[in-house]
Amino acid sequence: MRANAIARHADAFVHWTRLDRVTLLGHPERRNLRWWPALALVTMLVGYVLVAAAIDDRTRSVASLFRIATGGLLLFGALGAAGWLRMLGPRLMADLEKGLDERERMLRARAGHISGRIIASIAIIGCFYFGAAHPLGLWMPTQTIAWVYLGVMIEGWALVLPVLVVSWLQPPPERD
């Protein structure tokens, strides 16, 4: 009886956490994620800003080390969450059971186009900013690690932005 109760609670926990949806045997019930990807995007940005600002602090004070650790945790935590959100959000990749159907392929193409356009625009604005930063005395990354983290953040955005875009492009799915 006790073993059954434990198993029942373990089952309930797995369903509650949605871990069942990401197993090979699970049948993912994908849904629109309209706010979590936005939160992941913002968290990556906040993490990067914390790290990049603290790296330039040559004093290596406890406060700056704390900011680097917190920023890194936020950046890489959000990056990990981005991968997770892709598995729970609308399907953007074929899975083991079936490929994408025509509607999903169309949505993926639209989301890829919109996300690509947004990231390209940010990169263009970034180039203009970095070009002007030195002569104008504005902040810009100076350390190699700051540039590497910037690349990591953009990679994270590219991962999660299509989930956000698709989630807003399509209305909520019907329950079967």
Binding site: L100, Q170, P173
Partner: protein
């Protein structure tokens, strides 16, 4: 806007969206979007669905709203 009677035919057969989706090779959520009119199918998918229900394409899809079953029955009674 393309109107359809997928939900009606599906209900008549007692099929779930998932079963219809598997029969025509799409995600079951796509069937939900089709039924709600949130997605217009390709000609290939429309023909697959019509073939699945064994009806002509124009019985399933239309540019004009379909009349309700009640109206159709009343009209059929009046013509008898």
């Amino acid at each position: 806007m393309i109107y359809n009677r997928i939900a009606l035919f599906r209900a008549e057969r007692g099929e779930s969206r998932r079963e219809l989706a598997e029969a025509v090779g799409v995600n079951h959520q796509t069937i939900g979007y089709l039924e709600r009119g949130d997605y217009s199918p390709s000609l290939e998918l429309a023909m697959k669905i019509a073939e699945h229900f064994g009806v002509a394409l124009e019985h399933l899809f239309s540019f004009r709203p379909f009349e309700s079953v009640a109206v159709a029955l009343r009209r059929a009674e009046a013509t008898e």
